[in-house]
């Protein structure tokens, strides 16, 4: 009897703990989505409505079509809370997306053969170059932001997609190489050796034997590269000057820098901006978790 009630208390306690954690983790997401469907008037109440009482898609309509929401016209003073800049979010997210896709492709193209060479082949300077590549990522971003600016300017690439594709590739390739090297080291070697005996060259072995075996790793590496690029802020902030190349995080932080901007509109921008990473994080949960786990448990 005593044991039973103790087990019950334990179960209640654990479930309560899980519930608190879920509220802490998911709460901010639910709140920002809820706020994006509220009119400014409703949002500024004390206390605010947790669930929109009269949900409206006006904020989204404004961002996409420029039609000013009616709730802003009720009080004249609220008009100023409309920020034209919020309308830049769609092109900014498009920029983010294009850049991140190219970064992903470059990562796959450059990091896969390199990882194979590090994991399997014997060659001079291997360990030195491996350490150099891994070490390159460990400089604080702030220290290299100015030099990056100088490089991009002298390449005449300021405010272009290409500048961020290059910089983000340099930031992500070391991780991809490290990750894929570990991945290849942890798959059995027999098939590759059989391939080499049969007269395949290294490239054929990589292409026909290794790549099919490390597909889950490649999926995870792609997702990491995409997310890092999509989320990156500091360099994007310095290397872009107009909407032709400014990315989501740059535009979102810039909109919110305006002290008068409406929180409803910021919520719309935030909600739209987090759609791609949230979809990735939920649909590719298994690969991402396994990928992250492997970086710490593989030896």
């Amino acid at each position: 009897m005593r044991i039973k009630s103790r087990a019950l208390i334990k179960s209640i306690f654990l479930n309560l703990l899980v519930a608190i954690l879920i509220v802490y983790i998911a709460g901010p997401f639910i709140w920002v989505i809820s706020a994006s469907f509220q009119g400014e008037n409703e949002l500024l109440k004390k206390p605010p409505s947790f669930i929109p009482k009269s949900p409206t898609t006006d904020n989204y309509r404004y961002v996409f079509t420029g039609q000013v929401p009616t709730s802003y016209e009720v009080k004249g003073q609220l008009r100023s809370r409309i920020s034209q800049e919020a309308r830049l979010i769609a092109p900014a997210l498009k920029n983010s997306f294009i850049i991140a896709i190219f970064v992903l492709l470059i990562n796959l193209l450059f990091a896969t053969p390199a990882a194979y060479a590090f994991a399997r082949l014997r060659w001079k300077f291997k360990v030195g170059i491996y350490n150099f590549i891994l070490g390159s990522r460990l400089m604080p971003a702030m220290a290299i932001a100015i030099p990056y600016y100088v490089i991009i300017q002298s390449l005449k690439l300021m405010n272009t997609h290409l500048s961020l594709i290059l910089v983000h590739s340099a930031l992500t390739i070391p991780f991809s190489i490290w990750f894929l090297t570990l991945y290849i080291l942890n798959i059995p070697r027999d098939m590759e050796e059989a391939g080499l005996v049969d007269g395949c060259n290294y490239f054929q072995v990589l292409q026909q034997i290794v790549i099919p075996m490390i597909l889950p790793g490649l999926v995870a590496a792609s997702a990491f590269a995409f997310m890092t690029s999509y989320n990156e802020f500091l360099f994007a902030r310095f290397l872009t000057t107009s909407i032709t190349s400014q990315t989501g995080p740059v535009i979102i932080s810039s909109i919110s820098g305006n002290p008068d901007v409406s929180y409803s509109l910021i919520s719309v921008c935030i909600t739209l901006g987090m759609i791609p990473p949230v979809i990735l994080a939920i649909t590719m949960r298994k690969w991402l978790t396994e990928g992250l786990s492997s970086t710490i448990t593989f030896r």
Binding site: L14, V32, I106, V127, A141, I144, P147, A170, Y230, I296
Partner: protein, 308 residues
């Protein structure tokens, strides 16, 4: 006829031998070129600038000043202040992240049914941009219509709204809460990976011996988890020391420089005071501090042994 065939054969063999010899270099070269362009030059450039006076409002005079930039930075009030802030911030947020990570990982490792929901959402904070995470929290703790004030007010816990970001201590706490929210999930995933490496037999043996939950945690889980915990602590410490995006959107270093972390100070030096030389000197100091941690990190990971 047979001579030609032999010649052809050896030619073929030579070609393939050359291919095999250069193949590793060719496969590393593209990646290496991109990385070299964005590593060697920036570092050389940064180190050079740090010895010169580079103030953007005085574009035509760049005298060599030796170690003056370093001296100016180290002796300034802001350096001491941001170092203390970064220290407090790092200790508090790493502790928070580790406790959060341990609790979540241990829950995820159980068979409680409600944990499945946690499993689905755990990666979300990690996946979104830090700038976005910072903004979400900025509006949650907003002093006029933030949801946190709204909740506390509705519950009757407070009588009037608290201006979280206007108070030096509460601003720090807000920043740390946002940091734990953003970084905790990754720590949880890492620790979970470590927990899953512990063979079940250990727990079963402990159960037979009648060990209680807390004792099992203290004498089995914790010691076996130590190597992984060490790696996570070092990684999280680096992340905390270099925090920038969150400060940029959440507090802007304020109020009264109470959340001016060292990366933010470097940013302010460069972009607000336009003192490039001093800003970069400071960045180099940050780099040296993190370098020590990185050496520890590499030791803990020991990846170089595995490829040689």
């Amino acid at each position: 006829m047979s001579i030609i065939r032999t010649a052809n054969g050896s030619l073929h063999r030579n070609v393939s031998r050359v291919f095999e010899r250069f193949y590793p270099y060719a496969s590393v070269l593209p990646a290496l070129l991109v990385i070299v362009l964005f590593t060697i030059y920036p570092v050389v450039y940064a180190v050079r600038i740090s010895f010169y006076q580079y103030i953007l409002t005085k574009p035509n005079s760049h005298p060599f000043v030796g170690l003056n930039n370093f001296q100016d930075v180290i002796t300034s009030y802001y350096f001491k202040n941001s170092l203390i802030n970064t220290g407090i911030y790092t200790i508090a947020s790493v502790t928070g992240v580790m406790i959060f990570g341990l609790i979540v990982a241990m829950l995820l490792n159980t068979k409680i049914r409600s944990v499945n929901a946690l499993k689905i959402i755990i990666l979300l904070p990690w996946a979104i941009p830090a700038v976005v995470a910072g903004l979400m929290w900025k509006w949650i703790v907003n002093s006029d219509f933030g949801i946190l004030n709204g909740i506390l007010y509705s519950l009757g816990a407070i009588e009037s709204y608290i201006p979280f970001l206007a108070d030096p201590v509460l601003a720090k706490v807000s920043l740390i809460m946002a940091h734990i929210w953003k970084e905790g999930p990754l720590a949880a995933i890492f620790i979970l990976a470590g927990l899953q490496l512990i063979p079940n037999e250990f727990y079963e043996a402990a159960k037979i011996d009648g060990g209680s939950g807390l004792l099992v945690f203290r004498y089995i889980t914790l010691p076996l988890l130590r190597p992984i915990l060490l790696v996570v602590v070092v990684y999280e410490t680096m992340t905390a020391i270099l925090t920038f995006d969150l400060v940029y959107v959440l507090t802007g270093g304020g109020p009264a420089d109470s959340t001016s972390l060292i990366s933010w100070f470097a940013y302010a030096e460069i972009y607000k005071f336009l003192n490039l030389g001093a800003g970069i000197a400071l960045s180099i100091i940050i780099a040296l501090i993190t370098l020590i941690l990185i050496i520890l990190y590499m030791r803990a990971l020991k990846t170089e042994d595995t490829i040689s």
